[in-house]
């Protein structure tokens, strides 16, 4: 790094005039450890209360003048008549709003630091089939990007490698923790698969001759067959393994990739299928039918063509980024309007940025969709309870309800509004310091004499 910020841990805030009593702010920040990455320290108080705030629990009606109590990492109580415990650190929420922490349902967080610097880029492994790779293995808990994302309200993210056809297991992580394992909500959240497509088959590196349409089609068919064969092998491997486990005689050589595929073909682990055009989506549905897979679609640019089918089959779609251009010949609003179309058809949607440094913008991705037909309440669900349901953690995440993990944000307005400031972030019941890289540099250079 070129510069060492000198005001690390001094409680630098990025916002002017927050309305929060200074003493309280100092107390909160002082309670936080010096390290930027780790909000939780054994000695910090474990009970917090935010009182007199507008609480938007997402599941259930919004609560005016409500209080929420966090104890030992969980939501202890939430409601209008909740008493502030005597042992709680208190935040006056007058004029502020409390929301569940936001999800980015598809990122590369922790896997890449500076895009052009290969040494910090673990997004891609060689080869087409790497089901035994775990994204969590490569998540760098000390990534400087992660704190910049969480101070903007994102507390939980799916992170996955890309590249090849099966890139490996995605992880669901909370954006705080001393180690990647500590950050993990689900070390294995689903198998990340990119459904073969023409555009991918066509890539031949710079200077490579463009292939004819029929050659591209052949290549696509080859890749699709290879994918089906791979699942077929996995099914056979699982079958043999089950027979051996049931006392059958014989042996089977252990294959780590195949071992990783067993929960997938047993329907225990979902497959997160990146598919954009209607052919890919149909291919993904056919694959799911053949092998009885539980699938989650990702990206799904042309999913509107199959919205009713997806709704009927209860296949969720992780949409976005909405900061993509429409495909050639698509209407100008195709990307913005898609989330609303799917939601109205009854599809469960969540939002993704498919990025690391851009993950802090996931709510603004949703905002673009609300301008083109997505109900704002549904947009909020698509950033909270929907992804929690999609990943099977809605019993612990995605809403402000007693007993759930205390991931929440305190704001001065709608989190979809880019003007809104995130005043406090709690992950697992601990306050997150606002001393991310950007706030540190901001405070440092704001203090430069004129």
């Amino acid at each position: 790094m070129k510069r060492t910020p000198e005001d690390r841990g001094t409680g630098a805030r990025r916002h002017r005039g927050t309305g929060i009593p200074l003493a309280l702010t100092v107390a909160l920040v002082a309670a936080a450890p010096l390290a930027a990455q780790q909000p939780a320290a054994a000695h910090s108080p474990a009970v917090y209360a935010i009182r007199d705030a507008t609480i938007v629990p997402v599941v259930g009606a919004r609560i005016a003048g409500g209080t929420i109590v966090l104890r030992n990492g969980r939501i202890d109580a939430v409601g209008a008549g909740v008493q502030v415990p005597a042992d709680a650190q208190v935040i006056d929420g007058t004029g502020l709003f409390v929301y569940p922490g936001l999800f980015d349902a598809g990122t590369t967080l922790g896997l890449v630091e500076i895009g052009s610097v290969p040494g910090g880029d673990d997004r891609r492994e060689l080869g087409d089939f790497n089901p035994h790779n775990d994204a969590l293995t490569a998540v760098n808990p000390a990534s400087e990007i992660i704190p910049t994302v969480r101070v903007n309200g994102v507390t939980t993210a799916m992170t996955a490698a890309r590249g090849g056809v099966i890139a490996g297991q995605a992880a669901l992580i909370d954006l705080a923790g001393w180690t990647a394992q500590e950050m993990a909500v689900l070390p294995r959240a689903g198998m990340a698969l990119s459904f073969p497509r023409i555009a991918a088959a066509q890539r031949g590196g710079p200077g490579a001759p463009r292939r004819s349409e029929s050659e591209q089609r052949e290549e696509l068919d080859r890749q699709t067959r290879a994918l089906r064969d791979y699942f077929g092998d996995a099914l056979a491997y699982a079958d043999v393994g089950a027979r051996l486990a049931a006392g059958g005689t014989g042996t089977q050589e252990v294959s780590l990739p195949m071992e990783a595929m067993v929960p997938v073909v047993r329907g225990e682990s979902p497959v997160i299928v990146e598919a954009d055009n209607v052919e890919q989506i149909r291919g993904a549905l056919a694959l799911a039918d053949s092998f009885h897979l539980r699938i989650i679609l990702r990206s799904g640019r042309e999913a509107w063509r199959l919205a009713d089918t997806l709704a009927a089959r209860r296949i969720p779609v992780i949409v976005g980024p909405t900061t993509n251009s429409p495909g050639d010949g698509d209407p100008y609003d195709a990307v913005y309007a898609l989330p609303g179309v799917l939601a109205r058809a009854g599809v469960t949607i969540a939002f993704q940025t498919a990025s690391a440094s851009d993950a802090r913008n996931v709510a603004y991705n949703a905002a673009l969709a609300t301008a083109y037909g997505l109900d704002p309440d549904e947009a909020l669900r698509a950033l909270t309870i929907n992804p929690a349901r999609i990943f099977g953690v809605a019993d612990r995440y995605g809403s402000l309800e007693a007993g759930k993990v205390a991931n929440l944000i305190v704001t001065n307005g709608d989190p979809l509004d880019p003007r809104t400031q995130i005043r406090h972030v709690f992950i697992r019941g601990r306050p997150i310091p606002q001393d991310d890289r950007h706030n540190r540099l901001y405070q440092q250079y704001r203090a430069r004499p004129r």
Binding site: I198, Q216, V278, E279, G327, Y332, Y336, A337, Y442
Partner: protein
């Protein structure tokens, strides 16, 4: 990576819609009796640039053609008739120069704003756009774009000041239309950042569907794109086997190259000055002096030295911005803007002293090493300390949502909403020397306006109409939308939504 800059030429996968729509568009223009501004436009020769001082607003064609239907343009979208008398009534008007006007009316005559305020009478015969519940802001100015050109980088040589954006313009159907649909009306089109001196930029208005020369913003001062840093020294560039690396490969070499180029330009200028002096002193009977050899590469540099062309400098790091400011000081010219300037917040004192603006991203960062110290608070902090700041796209997609990008500065660093609005309107206009024509809603300025369904910074707001000189170039009411396409698909169930395989598909 989403940035369209970089060392490689940008690919253009899509078919050029313009080639199909050209004839129809031209015919429609002729039928409508509209003389495109271009028809009178002189291609400005490199030897004789216009003065850098913002020109007085030009006379538009005096004949007012009443609105009338015209034929379809690219994407099957009608080309708007020339504006006559247009009124936008009962709207919330964000002027960018003098605050917000509630329930206001904007009267447009012959493409210019004739009146704005709460008590503006709408003359009989005016085309009325009901602005009830709507917000009107100045058309967005994207001060760093690569839209509408066939080629981005002449990447073979690090000094290519001779090449011109205006020579490679194209009616880039999809991108131009989508940017209009994001409220953008004016864009500054640069070469890429492969070269230390990349080429001559053009300021365009997004007159979608009209002949390609109609895009030129007549009267805008000419510009020259410089670039510093990683792209110029090709640090993220893998040379092919047998290929030698191009000079310069370090920030030292970049400075040397600049000083060398301007030194040559000074000498070249002196040759011309001597020639001019000799001609002036010529006495009857003496032989005519022989003019120096015209150098198309040095001509634009001389114009920079003489203040007749604006210097726009792609730079990320503060140290290299300071380097360029030293070069500019030593050669006696002003830098109009640093483009990107992600570390501008570190050197606000120096930027203010030099009178140099910065055109930056809202929060795009970490895509390369020189973007590692970027801050989302950069724009607001620079503005707070007196720098003229604009927010740009550098990307056909980001250009569609500059209103949202600008809004982020209210959160990050606490810019006021007016400041944030100016970052995509009046401030880029000032950086480009076109603030007498566009950038705010004031009487006498071009009627380049974006009409939003709600406050442009609020989530859920979208662009309903975009006007350039009073002509509605984007209209949500008649735009082809996903809803329309779904309706068509429902009516043609046999096709099952199958998509033909095309080589143009896929990522950009």
């Amino acid at each position: 990576m989403k940035t369209t800059e970089g060392t490689g030429a940008r690919g253009h996968g899509g078919t050029n819609v313009w080639t199909h729509g050209c004839a129809a568009a031209l015919a429609a223009v002729i039928l409508a009796g509209v003389v495109p501004a271009v028809a009178q436009a002189q291609r400005r020769p490199a030897q004789a640039p216009a003065p850098a001082a913002p020109a007085a607003p030009q006379q538009v064609a005096p004949a007012v053609t009443p609105p009338q239907a015209s034929g379809p343009g690219p994407l099957g979208i009608a080309i708007p008739p020339a504006g006559g008398l247009v009124a936008i009534t009962n709207a919330t008007i964000l002027t960018a120069s003098h605050g917000t006007i509630e329930r206001g009316t904007i009267l447009i005559r012959d493409g210019r704003i004739a009146a704005v305020g709460q008590n503006v009478q709408v003359p009989a015969g005016a085309q009325v756009i009901d602005g009830t519940g709507r917000y009107v802001m100045p058309g967005i100015i994207d001060s760093h774009s690569h839209t509408a050109i066939e080629a981005v980088n002449e990447g073979t040589n690090s000094i290519t000041s001779e090449v011109r954006v205006e020579d490679v313009l194209r009616q880039d159907g999809g991108s131009i239309y989508r940017e209009l649909a994001g409220g953008v009306t004016t864009i500054q089109v640069y070469h890429g950042s492969a070269n230390t001196i990349g080429g001559q930029s053009s300021t365009l208005k997004l007159r979608f569907g009209l002949p390609v020369d109609s895009l030129l913003f007549q009267g805008a001062p000419p510009g020259l794109k410089f670039a510093l840093g990683e792209n110029v020294r090709q640090s993220n560039f893998q040379p092919q086997p047998g290929q030698t690396r191009r000079y310069p490969a370090s920030r030292m070499g970049v400075e040397e190259l600049l000083r060398d180029a301007f030194t040559r330009a000074q000498a070249y200028r002196r040759e011309w000055q001597a020639y001019d002096a000799a001609r002036r002193a010529l006495r009857r009977g003496q032989a005519e002096p022989v003019p120096p050899r015209r150098d198309l590469q040095l001509d634009p540099l001389v114009e920079i030295l003489e203040g007749r062309r604006l210097a726009h400098v792609h730079a990320y790091r503060s140290d290299e911005m300071l380097m360029f400011l030293r070069v500019a000081r030593d050669f006696g010219f002003r830098v109009a803007s640093f483009e990107h300037g992600l570390e501008g917040y570190m050197i606000t004192n120096e930027l203010v002293a030099a009178g140099t603006g910065v055109s930056t991203f809202a929060d795009f960062w970490a895509y390369k090493l020189e973007a590692w110290d970027a801050l989302p608070q950069n724009a607001a902090l620079m503005a707070e300390r007196g720098v003229v700041v604009s927010i740009n796209s550098d990307d056909d997609e980001r250009a569609r949502r500059l209103y949202q990008e600008a809004a982020k500065t209210v959160n990050y660093g606490g810019a006021t909403e007016d400041e944030a609005l100016r970052m995509i309107t009046l401030n880029p206009a000032r950086q480009l020397g076109i603030e007498s024509r566009v950038g705010s809603i004031d009487v006498g300025k071009d009627a380049d306006l974006a009409i939003f369904s709600g406050h442009p910074f609020a989530p859920g707001s979208r662009v309903e109409k975009t006007l350039i000189e009073g002509r509605v170039f984007f209209d949500r009411d008649t735009a082809p939308t996903l809803e329309n396409l779904m309706e068509q698909t429902r009516r043609q169930p046999a096709r099952q939504g199958g998509r033909p395989v095309t080589s143009a598909g896929g990522a950009r």
